[in-house]
């Protein structure tokens, strides 16, 4: 194996080396630039793990505590690094444990290549031990999946997997490899990356006529409004986007996954869209005359009631995925294509403008929101702390430089609303799927993907308990993740809805927690409980300056609500401040 390893890295064009499918797989991963794998071994993937034993110096394998943790770590890695996350799991339960993460990555367009072991090909369909129909289970939640039953397929299939995962609109790919293919020896002729599949068009061709039409609309608009999403980040088009915003002078608001594509304090960044977004962006959606949507998909949490959404506006929609155009909101001008290509063309075609009066309207709504909501949330007079003031204190220490990883629920909305982001790829959260339990493992992956950055996981007391076994992964890998648990002793978001819409019938939201600091200590992770405002800043500083991981449990108000809020079934302009 050792000799094979030496020769394989730079094989001559005509030379072949006799290797196992497992070795070919690992060579393919290295050729694709993989440095970290999140995984968990098991019977059907043992030959791959046996080969991995000799690749310790090239591939850093992180042993997780549950396959769901593995895939969320892969997602976190992909989100901060911009690379493809790689995950290993065994057959049967190992593979089915990936499903939540696959669905999350599919809806949030995260590039992943997941390798699952499978029983021997001759056992397929016999209900063999740990056999499950992984390909069919994962079809709806993968961009592409494929079962390998012969080792000779491996180089080409892995090349395709990486190409599909990262090109066009990214997404998760799952490759299921039967045990016989992992063991089988074959003549490996070297690895060739894939750059074309005849049936697959990663992005549509840019149409000059749509650029022209879009520019005309933008130039004649009196009250134009930009909505941007993760497409800007996935396309690596942050600079192109900034140039467009600054030349056009148009106020721009972000979706949860778009946060950070432009710095939080940019004068034209007017805030967050959607159910718990900012007041101005929601209300003024129904007042603008031209809506320019960039790399976003008009999720129902962004649009509220669709038949009352921006009906007065002409819509310009820039998206790489043709299936997104006209899916939820009918576009006046569909600008098909990668925004990295379309934005510079559009910037060139538009006039330099300032929309001072229109922008002032946003600022006016911000003032109202500060008065009604933000001021009290960030500077509470109650004895108990609020989630918002914790985020505010964190901002003051990290100055917007940290990667913030959030779970799902009230703390997520508060963190997205108030956290400062100076840089792109800084907000890692489960957006479309809303997966509780995402944050802790995703933060581990996020740190491996951005090792020179501070990674802060902000998690609720409910979500933390869904994947808290990954504290073991932190312990063993020695990774430096700062963990903040915002403990309100409730499943807060559901409780908020029960309070507002179910007459305070608090049905099974009263969750009890263990002693989180003691739990961290059991994993040899230092921690601290903060239940007094006076200790907050010092505790945050202690956490951030600690040499490794640190867990801070912060007790916050039990029954605080996240506002503003667009109640379900209401129009964005019916957003409530209380």
């Amino acid at each position: 194996m050792e000799t094979a390893q030496e020769t394989l890295t730079a094989p001559a064009a005509t030379e072949t080396v006799n290797v196992s499918g497992s070795v070919a797989l690992l060579e393919a991963l290295i050729a694709e630039g993989t440095d970290t794998i999140f995984g968990y071994p098991g019977g059907a993937i043992m030959p791959i793990y046996d080969a991995l034993f000799d690749y310790n110096d090239k591939l850093n394998h992180i042993l997780v505590r549950h396959e769901q943790g593995g895939i969320h770590a892969g997602q976190g890695y992909a989100r901060t690094s911009g690379k493809v996350g790689v995950v290993f799991a065994t057959s049967g339960p190992g593979a089915t444990n990936l499903v939540t993460g696959l669905a999350d990555a599919q809806i949030d367009s995260t590039p992943l290549v997941c390798i699952t072991g499978q029983v021997f090909a001759h056992l397929l369909g016999t209900d063999a031990f740990q056999e499950t129909d992984v390909i069919n289970i994962t079809t709806p939640v993968t961009k592409w999946n494929y079962q390998v039953t012969d080792a000779t397929e491996i180089p080409e299939v892995i090349a395709k997997a990486f190409y599909i995962a990262r090109s066009g609109r990214p997404g998760p790919v799952l490759i299921d490899i039967t045990k016989n293919a992992q063991i089988q020896l074959f003549d490996f002729a070297g690895y060739k990356p894939c750059d074309h599949i005849r049936s697959y068009r990663p992005k549509p061709i840019v149409r000059p006529q749509y650029i022209e039409q879009a520019a005309e609309l933008i130039n004649s608009a009196k009250k134009p409004f930009i909505l941007f999403g993760q497409g800007v980040i996935l396309g690596g088009a942050e600079q192109e986007f900034k140039a467009f915003v600054e030349k056009s002078g148009i106020p721009a608001a972000w979706t949860v996954l778009g946060a950070g594509a432009i710095p939080s304090d940019h004068p034209l960044n007017v805030g967050m869209l959607g159910m718990h977004g900012n007041y101005g962006p929601n209300v003024l959606t129904n007042e603008c005359d031209v809506l320019i949507a960039i790399g976003m998909r008009f999720d129902d949490r962004v649009t509220g009631r669709l038949d009352k959404y921006a009906k007065q506006a002409k819509v310009v929609h820039l998206d790489i995925d043709p299936a997104e155009i006209d899916k939820n909101v009918k576009s006046t001008v569909p600008v098909w294509g990668d925004c990295k290509e379309t934005l510079p063309l559009l910037t060139k075609a538009i006039e330099k403008k300032e929309h001072t009066e229109w922008l002032a309207k946003f600022n006016d709504y911000t003032r109202q929101e500060v008065e009604a909501v933000i001021h009290n949330e960030l500077n509470p007079t109650t004895p108990e702390m609020t989630m918002g003031e914790v985020i505010k204190q964190l901002n003051e220490i990290t100055k917007g430089e940290a990667v913030i990883v959030t779970d799902v629920g009230q703390h997520q909305m508060v963190a997205c609303r108030y956290a400062k982001f100076n840089n792109t790829r800084s907000n890692v959260t489960s957006g479309g799927l809303g997966t509780m339990g995402f944050a802790l493992p995703a933060a581990i992956g996020a740190k491996f993907g951005a090792q020179d950055r501070t990674v802060v996981a902000i998690i609720g007391d409910g979500g933390f308990q869904m994947t808290c076994q990954e504290l073991g992964t932190i312990m063993q890998s020695g990774i430096d993740v700062k963990i903040i648990i915002l403990n309100n002793r409730f499943l807060g978001m559901v409780r908020q809805w029960q309070e507002l819409f179910n007459q305070r019938r608090y049905s099974f939201v009263d969750i009890q927690s263990p002693d989180f600091v003691a739990l961290a200590a059991a994993y040899r992770i230092p921690g601290k409980l903060v239940d007094d405002r006076a200790d907050l800043t010092a505790a945050l500083n202690e956490m951030l300056t600690a040499p490794g991981s640190f867990l801070l449990e912060i007790m916050v108000t039990k029954e605080n609500n996240v506002f503003p809020m667009v109640p379900q079934g209401c129009s964005v302009s019916e957003i409530r401040l209380k």
Binding site: I135, N136, T139, P140, K143, W144, N145, Y146, Q147, I164, H196, I197, R198, S199, Y200, R201, P204, I205, R207, D321, P322, A323, D326, K327, W336
Partner: protein, 200 residues
């Protein structure tokens, strides 16, 4: 209600790679939205390794357009189109098994079969199998006719449809055989709203 707003039959034509699991990947695009597939035919196209699906559903055009885009988005789908019944020439094949004795005894049966364009595929001592092709009403009609004479078994194929306006379809498809990407192939052709062919 305008024509476009009414539910009607749509013929979805899909060209795909010949890949295990693709049928399931396409089928779940319908089932996820709780849309019933009325008819599904899949078979090799005139180009080796490329398969053609014909799917019939009863839906609003708006829904069908979105479905077709979701289908086209699948990695192993080369092209997807949709057409109304007016835009296609379509046929279904039906087989009818009837007792040979009955046909021999009753001259009228033979006349009825001939009138309905049926032809005998197999004639055995105990039974005869007839075949017709046509629209649903036509093949249904012959069932009703044969029922009183003791229809033993009946089967009908899925629909196959050929598109009226598909000049150059075959040559476009040949483009896919090329291994290197070409301008024509890369293009999402259905976005060309002006073109007659390859328009969704």
């Amino acid at each position: 209600m305008s024509e476009a707003e009414k539910k009607q039959e749509f013929n979805i034509t899909i060209y795909t790679e010949n890949q295990i699991g693709l049928l399931s990947r396409i089928a779940i695009i319908f089932t996820r939205r709780k849309i019933n597939i009325d008819s599904l035919n899949t078979s090799p196209s005139e180009i080796e390794s490329i398969h053609r699906f014909n799917i019939v559903i009863n839906e609003y055009e708006e829904v069908v357009r979105k479905l077709t885009r979701q289908i086209e988005k699948q990695v192993e789908v080369l092209k997807a189109y949709y057409h109304t019944n007016e835009d296609v020439i379509w046929q279904e094949l039906a087989l009818y098994k009837v007792s040979t004795d009955v046909i021999a005894e009753k001259v009228s049966v033979e006349r009825l079969l001939r009138e309905n364009g049926a032809r005998a595929v197999v004639i055995r001592k105990d039974y005869t199998v007839f075949e017709t092709t046509g629209h649903r009403e036509e093949t249904d009609n012959l069932i009703n006719i044969l029922q009183p004479y003791g229809l033993i078994e009946f089967v009908r194929s899925a629909r196959v449809a050929i598109i009226k306006d598909s000049e150059g379809f075959n040559s476009k498809l040949r483009e896919f055989e090329r291994l290197e990407p070409g301008e024509e192939v890369i293009e999402n052709e259905y976005l060309n709203q002006g073109e007659k062919v390859f328009t969704m």
